[in-house]
Symmetry: C2
Subunit: 470 residues, 2 copies
Amino acid sequence: MPSKLDKGVMDLFFNPRSVAIIGASIKKGTVGRALMENVKARFKGRIYPVNIKYDEVLGLKCYKSVLDLPETPDLVVIAVPARVVPKVMEECGRKGVKAAIVISAGFKEVGEEGARLERELLEVARKWGIRFIGPNCLGIYDAWTGLDTIFNPNDRQDKPGPGNVALISQSGALGAAILDWLAEAGVGMSKFISYGNAADVQEWELIEYLAEDPKTEVTMAYIEGVADGRKFLEALKKAASLGKPVIVLKAGKSEKGMRAVASHTGSLAGQYAVYEAAIKQFGGLLVNELNEMVVAAKTLSWLPTPKGDRIAIVTNGGGAGVLATDAIELLGLKVADLSESTRKELREKLPPAAAVNNPVDVLGDAPPERYDAALDAVMRDDGVDAVLLISIMQSPAYDPPGVLKAAKKAVSKYGKPVVMAAPGGRYTVDKLLMFEREARIPSFRTPEEAAKALTYLVRWSRIRNRMKGG
Amino acid sequence: MPSKLDKGVMDLFFNPRSVAIIGASIKKGTVGRALMENVKARFKGRIYPVNIKYDEVLGLKCYKSVLDLPETPDLVVIAVPARVVPKVMEECGRKGVKAAIVISAGFKEVGEEGARLERELLEVARKWGIRFIGPNCLGIYDAWTGLDTIFNPNDRQDKPGPGNVALISQSGALGAAILDWLAEAGVGMSKFISYGNAADVQEWELIEYLAEDPKTEVTMAYIEGVADGRKFLEALKKAASLGKPVIVLKAGKSEKGMRAVASHTGSLAGQYAVYEAAIKQFGGLLVNELNEMVVAAKTLSWLPTPKGDRIAIVTNGGGAGVLATDAIELLGLKVADLSESTRKELREKLPPAAAVNNPVDVLGDAPPERYDAALDAVMRDDGVDAVLLISIMQSPAYDPPGVLKAAKKAVSKYGKPVVMAAPGGRYTVDKLLMFEREARIPSFRTPEEAAKALTYLVRWSRIRNRMKGG
């Protein structure tokens, strides 16, 4: 594999002027049909269906072979049976194609016969200088250019709108599920790459490319095994030194998990403790669970990086404030010591029964004005780096739009990150969504999860400071 | 305080024949009005509003004093200003009242003056032999009898329907938020008690009472501090020996959390490490976070207790299967070794590319028949105690009603617990809810959370075996 990233070729994957779909079909329920529909729906460039069986597919002229196309397509997407793929790749080479996505499965993941086929495919591509993603993958979704080869049905597979978060995933199904989840969570996306068996294009190349991608600020990576550990780590380091966090979820952490990886993608998972230490050293933001990856992505995508780890808690419920305090301390962040002048101001502006030490308890009957006063005071305090806002919304006095307005005001005035926690049911969940949609304040059901969201910010802040300038 | 639980008096709190509301009001937005509305809405017994200002409240005759009532009410609910409460309690004593709930705040939690008032209140109650819950609490919600003193507005405060989970909470606001959350999660409830300052009735009495309550199978307890550690622990032990799990969330785990507790309820939180060891020893099911408490309650409420800790994973996505494997192993459960005959059966019934070791991968294109075959085979295996079912629902082949049917069949045939994980967005979340509502299979967004749910079952199974028969 090439030792240096060829950005020009990589660009072809995401922003091609023309795409050929080899294995395009008119038959409902086939991958070839779903691919055509997806690409036709949003992609603005020229589209060439290729299938020996058809003269036309979805109103577009269909070609017998890639060799018959009126131009060399910037990108080909291959979705034909595995045994035919090397021959198709050969034709692509003769046509001068430089970039391909091989959707087809039936390679290394099915045993020795498939592994042989995969080696053959790789040889052909190398001979012609073609870079390809896959095989055994879902391919690419670029939210900005509209290129989309993720062929799950649209009624059960949502995709995020344009944004600054990228995702690469060794598992196609899990990657698609995360894509769907991010869409529902309102997290905007730059690029998604399901890279499957990684016969040619490797995860480290994608991480490097995304680190230099102006549309990408945060990269999520679901990894089972890597072929070249050193290059993977160097890519993490490069991203961190460019100020772009890479959130890594490494599967195969346990003995049996490693075995499950081997039977899933045929990768060698490797000892997790080694990965763990190395990923941290090279500036990766390692998370332990799927949920953490999504929470970290949302939080890093939406919020500024804090200067430090001193957290102020503003709450209208004492119990939830205690839980937040516990979580912050146990997660290794600090419950901020408010300055004397901040406490004085809070004493003046809040009722006598309010607590003016951190956590600041504005009391159960707090109207938005009290939240406003408390948020303004604690965010102005130089000893506070971020705020964990708690809302007990069952309280009749709690006014969601009023508190939202106060939070937005404080955020825009002081530029410090704010996360929110509000335990509850239907009404609360609906309002949490309002805080996310209207103010991009990451909002959670529990104080503990909100505190965890802050840890990703603080960890990234430390990584960035350590890795700055490489 | 009495050293032995008087069950007869305790019954009056939840199932009184008559209730007096002292401080009943017609004024909208007041606690006295909300209390009247709530109690009138569902309580079937006799209701007596008491307020010197009114002749009638919400169509019911209003009395100047509890002394004027035509009978001695089984229960009085007191919601008048703190300074008047001792006098009201004195009148209750003269009337022969035996049980009271003191909603009013302004006692120990506001400082020395309040603490004095609370001691005075306790003396009056002791003199007359009245047991009371509170002060500074929300009181009681009994889902079976309909008695409800939780006075938050109904548009933002849901309450669960009748079921087998009880909740006691030292924090009223947090307790109400959990109530709301349980309602949305579809968890049925027996009794909720917000016990506030616990001047008289203590958490240990409530835990003992609930352990003997035929309507209650699982108790959740949010605790900041306890006055009598020994009695608290003995109550946990009693519940466990009666086969009733008590899920304990203890706040004030950190140094600063302990200080926050002191300024919230004025309780002494005590060293967490001591609590932790003692709660575990006495058979409490200790959880670390709010979310865990809700997940544990749902899981213990809905599922049978497994015989052991050997988990089978059935998945249509390899990546999610690896994450589940990791989580199960790292949480200290076991990924079951399937018997040779189970694996043989799976090889016969699943396609060649399927994985028949645990995790069992039925592949991304699995129709429900494959789930059916896999679930039936692994649940019949004597080496499997519980199942973690994974559904990648973005796959076009995945059929939610079909898999639901297969899961229900296997559950009713083998009686082993099943939890489900399905990562995704809108479509998936909607179907997860279907699995919960229609089959009571606790369903989660991630394999890791589903694995955690299984740990509560396994931990409870071990506690129960250890504590059986006291």
